[in-house]
């Protein structure tokens, strides 16, 4: 089971997961999977349903704790961090886009985008400004005062991308971001994600089973049955 990919540009990886094992009850989800994420790159994690790709993403992001293995963020071990530190990490260094947005229905879109900042304790004015900035970039400024229940799926996902990027994170984790969208809306979201992440130098870990979505990445990691089968080296 391979754990380490070739480093693309010789730089140290931002995030390195190695030999991760995790089971849900009796069903093993990860059997020694591992991968690394380098600064500014977009990595696609591909596999069929049930292959464990989402689980790998959750482990890398510190959402799930593997039963064994390690996840290093700039050399610091995430898996043994106390919850408060890990949450801080997720708030400030990571961003998240999920398949179904997970925008909070009670807040307006603008408030949703500003959420990570609010959780970090930033001032309201600050949060509003940056939220407006990112909504503009993602083209959802016109629905800023609407609630998530009133906007289309594509708009929602773009808002989720804005939320993921609002805190200027190091890594954005995107789990099937276009899964619930039609191909046009999906293209829009991916193009924008690509553009904005590239612009701010944010790395993206992109879990998907669609090849056209994975094509936006610089390289791909293939998972099958909880283990990484092959890695593609980047040109």
């Amino acid at each position: 089971m391979t754990t380490d990919p070739e480093s693309p540009s010789g730089s140290d990886p931002v995030l390195v997961g190695s030999d991760l094992q995790l089971s849900f009850g009796r069903t093993p989800a990860l059997r020694g999977a591992g991968m690394s994420v380098h600064a500014g790159e977009m990595v696609a994690v591909m596999g069929s349903s049930g292959s464990g790709k989402s689980t790998l993403l959750h482990c890398l992001a510190g959402i799930l704790t593997p039963s064994s293995g390690s996840v290093l963020h700039h050399g610091r071990e995430i898996t043994t961090m106390p919850d408060q530190q890990r949450s801080a990490l997720r708030r400030d260094e990571f961003g998240f886009v999920f398949q179904f947005g997970q925008l909070v229905p009670e807040l307006t879109v603008a408030e949703n985008v500003a959420l990570p900042l609010r959780l970090s304790g930033h001032r309201h004015a600050d949060g509003r400004r940056r939220s407006a900035l990112w909504m503009d970039k993602l083209g959802v400024s016109d629905v800023a005062d609407h609630r998530p229940g009133e906007i289309s799926g594509g708009q929602g996902q773009r808002a989720a991308v804005a939320r993921a990027l609002v805190a200027d994170p190091e890594v954005v984790f995107a789990d099937e971001p276009t899964g619930a969208l039609d191909s046009i809306a999906g293209e829009q979201v991916m193009a924008l994600l690509d553009e904005t992440a590239r612009e701010s130098g944010t790395a993206v870990v992109l879990v998907t089973h669609e090849s056209r979505v994975a094509a936006y990445a610089d390289r791909e990691v293939l998972i099958r049955d909880g283990a990484v089968r092959q890695q593609e080296s980047v040109r």
Binding site: D83, S87, A88, L103, P116
Partner: protein
Amino acid sequence: MTRRSSARARLGDLALGIRLAVGGDRTPWGRLLLTAVGIGLGVGVLLLAASVPTMKQARDERQNARQEIAGVLSHYPHSSRYQDSHDPSMLVTRASTEFRDQRIQGRALEPLSPDAPVPPGLQRIPGPGQMVVSPALRELLRGSGGELLKPRLPDHVVGVIDKEGLISPNELFYYTGTTNLSEGGTTVAAVYPGDSPSTNTRSLSGQMWIILSFGVTVLLVPIVVFVVSTTRMAEAARERRLAALRLVGADGKQIRRIASGEALVGAVFGVLLGWAVFLGGAQLVPHITLLEFSTFASDIRPVWEFAVLVTLGVPAAAVITAQAAMRRTIIEPLGIVRRTKPSSRGIVWRLVPMALGVVGLLLVGASSERISQLQIPFLASIVLLLIGVPLVLPWAVERVVRWSSARSVTWQLALRRLQLSSGTAARSVSAIAVVLTGVIALQTVLATSVATFQAQAHDGPTHQVATPSRHEVKVRGTLEHPGKGMAELADALEGLPSTGEVDGTAGVRFAVPEQQRGPRRSRYTGATIVDCATLLERDVVTRCSAGDVFQSPEHSRRTPSGAIRPGERLRATSTYHGSAGLEGTPGEVTTWRAPAELKPFEVSESRQYRYDMSYLLITPQAAENIPWWARNVELGLDFTASASPDAIERVRNVAAEYLEFASVRRISGYSPLPSDDAMVFRLIRYGLLLGTLVAFALIGCGLFVTAAEQIQERRRPMAVLAAVGARRRTLGWSAFLQNGVPMLVAVAVSVVVGLSLGVLVVMVTSLDNLAFDPLGLLGLVGIAAASVLVVTGLTMPALRRAMHPEGLRTE
């Protein structure tokens, strides 16, 4: 750049919680309002219940104030330490009458000195011929029946009793001034200056107290449970909301704070609303009369400790439960977001409160102290047991749905849904389960009490048993004036338009000294003055001649001193005539001498006539030297067929003219005045019934809201099912089952726990004759079943709306 560790940041989290609570996703304020209303109703009811002790206390205080001028009955020598040293400042006597099944009570006052105390609620003592009445009595006198009442209360109304002189707003009471009390006999009381008679707050007997406190606890706990479970409304949505936040990077403490903020908003609004409900209810309550009792609005104030407990406790409880419920969100937010099944529940810790409650009750029962000393452990154990029910219920529901297999589609839908969210389902019926448990236990205890009372009544001395009588109405009393004797009264009564024949007998009450029981101890014997013709006519004796006196042998058998001996001197007293015994002497006394021969007669079985109850029968000739004031009369009469219902009032008016302390009662359908305990028992039963209804109503609302919330939650799946072709009927029945299955489990648990609790309490309070109330039980189960139907029915419109394809929209 994080700036987490500041108080501002913490407040920020709370503020976020508040923001989330206020911003509903369909309608802002909608969910918040619903929560607040639910909590508000519950809090309002709790505050009203907490006002009952103050109501009682205020009432007692006013009662005591009135008692202050009740004085000391003069025929008990040395009953007041002021008697020897002072002269009385005022004489007081009581009067009462009945008018259309209502009691009217009054006091006649005769001030003897300028500093005679003024009764509470009055400006001055009414003069002779003057009357100060309660507001209700004034209305009565002014109203349509006034003329019928006036003859008995002839005095001129000069004022109205103020509030502090009244015990309840609808009381019929009066004070009147008079001048002839010094000859009023031993029922006149003397008020001595500076004397403060001991206040007698009547305390409940032990059994009454148990039943009352048990009942109150049993009804209050569900309200509390209801309030707490209302704070958890829409918890599934809240879990998801906060799980999303958790994924994005909120840590455990933050989530707890945010949840607290959310919970606080609803709770605080709810408490405010609750106070409003209480104040509104306090305006309504005085208009309700429960068994002749009513209260003043100003008396309705909650016991302040309880009020504070509720006002602060409800938000605190909301916050605590919200935090506790966030456990899963903090640990596995992914699971929530993906709506996976939660891990199965443990049973052990859930049984702890129940176990503690049972142990507590057993300890209380085994203890040798009286129950009233062990109030707190007793009630605490009951509360623990009751609280155990909503804890056990989710586990029970989960087990039941897991174990059942689905046959038809309807069942399948319901079961799978329940399997996924057994917690929510159980929560919605938890308050009802607690009510059911409590009421079932209460029914058991009440049934046992009734059985015990009846047993006691049969064993102990009989209370006044209704005297069977030939006549419809009996008039009893003591003659007031020498000139107005029984014959005149009988004529006057017969002269009334609606009366038929009047039949009257006179009687005497003799005191027979009983040396065995101590000096000055006597036994009272009733005698009837009856003529020979009547005796012979009614076959009481076979031979009779003028001047005969008969004695019943049974009388001799029953008395330790034996029969009355010929020549024995018997004292006849009147409590209503003679000087007021101011120097400690009893009222007027006369002596009668038994003749040389006392013939026997048998007391008949039928006891139709008064002399059937007496042990001495005296022919008029032998009773000549018994003065008029020593005789009491009893007349029986019938009404004609065309008599109006108010005819009896006319009889009362006539009787009041002739008799002192006249009592006019219908015999048929007359049940004797229940004893104090029985009265209280009835009051408690009615009160508990009322409380149960309120509790059920409240909880029914809660159930409805939860069911509606469920349907709202499941909008999308419903729409999908409808689109795929599920019939409305299938979904409707499925919804019914979804409500019905948890209710069934709740009823089962309630019956088991309720009956056990009832039995335990009975054991602990050592009431005998364990009895159950199967009809009541069935009634409760029926109510539970009906409520499921009603709630499902009421949520049908919402279901129909949810099935609309609108719900299919992906956003």
